[in-house]
Amino acid sequence: MTNTTTSEIVERCQALYDDMHFNAAREWKKAVPGRKVVGFMPIYIPRELIHAAGMLPLGIMGGGDNLEVIHGDAYYQSYICRIPRSTIELGVSGRLDFVDAMLFPSICDVIRNLSGMWKMLFPNVYSKYFDVPQTYEDSVGGEFYIGEMREFLHDLEELGGRKITDDDIRNSIAVYNENRKLIAELYDLRAAKPWLAPASEAYLVIRAGLVLPVEEHSKLLRQYIDATSSEDRPIKDNSKVIVTGMFCEQPPLNLLKSLELSGCYVVDDDFMLVSRWLVDDVPTEGDPVYNLSQAFLHHSRSTAAKYEPNQQEKGQFLVRSVKRTGAEGVIFASPSFCDPALLDRPMLQHVLADAGIPYIAFKYAENSGQMQPIREQAGTFVDSIKLWSAA
């Protein structure tokens, strides 16, 4: 196993990514009678609780550009983003027929309303709108969140037919801490030596974590990181950039590849935030649900779907990320019709302008095909960054 190459790993991840029938998760479920799979949408859910119940958390990020949407469009007007319609497509076409429960995090009104649609369309599947606090005081938002998590645990116990102990949850927290640490290591590697782990590869490797059991995914991450250091890859004259706005509907993989082709090293991003939502280890001692709530309130990422109580802090996460990674610019890439990303954008841009950080912006859809305009725009951006830094 030690000799696995990056391309072998990436190939495996690509296959998982392409598989819109989620066979890996189906097989996991089939392997032991009674196993359950819990689907979830962006942006964040505490997967530790699902894991503690012995179930597989399965990230559903829409249909991407692999899935032909036949029925889904009949549920949405043209002026609504793509991810809910391709998710409905996954549902009504039977691709999610093995999923025992679906979770809809509170990210925006589209996903919120989709939670109700799911109840109507799939009345026999447990589905839940997973509400999280947008206030961050322990005694207010914290208690509410603990209450919500306890309710959810109760539902999971009913679904699984067994009790979930605090030790189960502590154990799951430890397993996810490990996973997050590895992902953080991969991001550090990308920032330091982006030519070794291109964003389009890292994307696939992290995305595999949405369909694989976490333990297996951690192994895969370790393998990938180790493999990168033993390979010699040419350093290109690319510029380091950060992309932001891709926290929900995912960009087509080609978009990332196009950015790379046009001269960008993408060194930070907000894809699949669920994998990186909590920024520090969650303590494994003490009340695990309390610990998860503390992590959520005080040690989680900033993103457009979250209220920022402190005006001074608005957008600073981007400035910090630029400093940490040494990026030279920021690309705002948002799904069309995405209110959270698009309404947040001007505020973030003001912060960047004040900090003297260059940026560009464009929109995409998960099934965008034409990459030429994006490639051109990104290419021009990279050229101008180089000019500025040379000046």
């Binding site: 007007q77 509170s106 208690e143 919500e148 698009l342 505020m347």
Partner: protein, 435 residues
């Protein structure tokens, strides 16, 4: 077809006495806002769904509602320019046009419908109820006004019920954050008995409002519960809930409506009394404001009255039984916020529309889908199919925008409406009703 005179002589718009009274109240309110810098009154900006007017009054704060300002800009045909202004400054063409109208208005000096400058808010009360966009909207305003911002989260009623955890969360937010910050901003100490008094008054006006809304069960309906309804909800969804003015207005309106019922009259339209009620409709979704009269006319010209609408429930679902309860002041405010229409799950919204069709003996459902409003619009196609299935009544779908004139295509809307009325006719005569 006879051509409609475009901007010929300003045509006289017929308004009933209650509408005139309402207009007067709103004008008075805008003057109070514009006068604030001189009178020293402090101003709180907040949203219609989940608005806590009674609480704000406890701190002598005047309530400014950016959504209502956007509506006013739409009615006055200024929103188009404001939206363009906001887009020029970097806002996306894809997002909620209320926000852009508001931002554009701010950029152009914040001139209110009274032609006078509206004051900057002293505090932003971000009642996060039923719409995600609110959250971003006030972050955007905070960036400009740099004033204290209070965040009040209303959990979503996803499972069709209010749980104790939800109510406790809201009450805690009132106690630990909302009230203390309002005290600090206003310099006025919170007095719960004062709040009770206001809440008592709210409930009184709410009773009369419900009576008015339910008068549409009569045949003919004495009111139009969508176009006319927008006037009726103005005071109670805005700055008047909890005041004597609101009590007087709704009492007056109730009497007026009762008199119309007694006289067997239909609603008052801008062109006078509606002669004949041919169709009774339930409407889901907000109206279009840039072409409000033209839009309304497409209904009353065909003899279509809206007998119930969901839009008139965004500021509270009083007709479902909710009343502000002065004996449980904080809990009642929480339950009020939780119950507003856009905070209800999709299945709950469907139940409500189905019930309206049955209870108001409507001919069917019409959905006005708003291009820029995800809160309302995402899921409406399923709502339409489900309501059709459950009631056996025809449904139709039109698409416009609230305040962006670029998305109002009169010819399209008219066509859709005409074919919809034909569908209703067919259904009545038994054709096409085989299923």
């Amino acid at each position: 077809m006879k051509p409609t005179p475009v901007k010929a002589k300003a045509q006289e718009v017929i308004k009933d006495a209650s509408m005139l009274k309402q207009k007067e109240m709103m004008a008075k309110h805008y003057d109070r806002l514009s006068d604030a810098p001189e009178t020293g009154q402090k101003v709180a900006s907040t949203f219609v769904p989940g608005n806590l007017n009674e609480l704000l009054m406890c701190f002598d704060l005047v309530n400014n509602l950016p959504e209502v300002n956007a509506i006013q800009s739409g009615l006055r045909r200024q929103s188009g320019g404001y939206i363009m202004e906001a887009e020029r400054s970097g806002h996306s063409e894809d997002v909620c046009t209320y926000v852009k109208s508001d931002i554009g208005m701010m950029m152009k000096g914040n001139i209110g419908p009274n032609g006078r400058k509206l004051p900057n808010p002293d505090v932003l009360l971000l009642s996060y109820t039923g719409c995600f966009t609110f959250l971003k909207w006030f972050e955007l305003l905070r960036e400009q006004y740099k004033c204290p911002t209070i965040f009040l989260q209303t959990p979503y009623m996803a499972d069709g019920k209010v749980t104790p955890n939800m109510v406790q969360y809201m009450v805690k937010q009132f106690k630990e954050d909302v009230i203390p910050t309002l005290e600090k901003v206003s310099g006025v100490k919170f007095d719960i008995d004062r709040l009770r008094e206001y809440l008592k008054k709210s409930a009184k006006a709410e009773d009369d409002l419900v009576h008015v809304l339910q008068s549409a069960k009569n045949k003919p309906s004495p009111i139009d519960a969508y176009f006319g309804g927008i006037y009726y909800i103005g005071p109670i969804f805005g700055a008047f809930r909890g005041t004597d003015d609101a009590i007087d207005y709704y009492r007056f309106l109730r009497e007026e409506v009762d008199a119309r019922v007694a006289a067997g009259k239909g609603p008052v339209t801008p062109d006078g009394d509606m002669p004949e009620e041919k169709y009774r409709l339930v409407v889901e979704g907000p109206p279009n404001y840039t072409n409000f009269r033209q839009f309304w006319k497409m209904f009353y010209e065909e003899g279509a009255t809206v007998v119930a609408s969901s839009y008139t429930k965004v500021g509270g679902t009083y007709d479902l039984g909710f009343r502000h309860d002065y004996e449980r002041p904080l809990e009642t405010m929480a339950e009020y916020c939780l119950g507003v229409y856009t905070n209800r799950s999709l299945p709950m919204r469907i139940d409500m529309l189905v019930d309206y069709i049955n209870e108001y003996e409507a001919d069917g459902l019409l959905i006005n889908s708003i291009k820029s409003c995800n809160s309302f619009s995402a899921g409406q196609l399923l709502i339409m199919r489900e309501v059709e299935k459950r009631t056996g009544k025809p449904a139709a779908f039109i698409e416009t925008d609230l305040v962006d004139p670029r998305y109002f295509s009169a010819a399209n809307v008219k066509n859709r409406l005409e074919s919809y009325f034909q569908m209703v006719e067919q259904k009545r005569s038994g054709k096409g009703a085989a299923a």
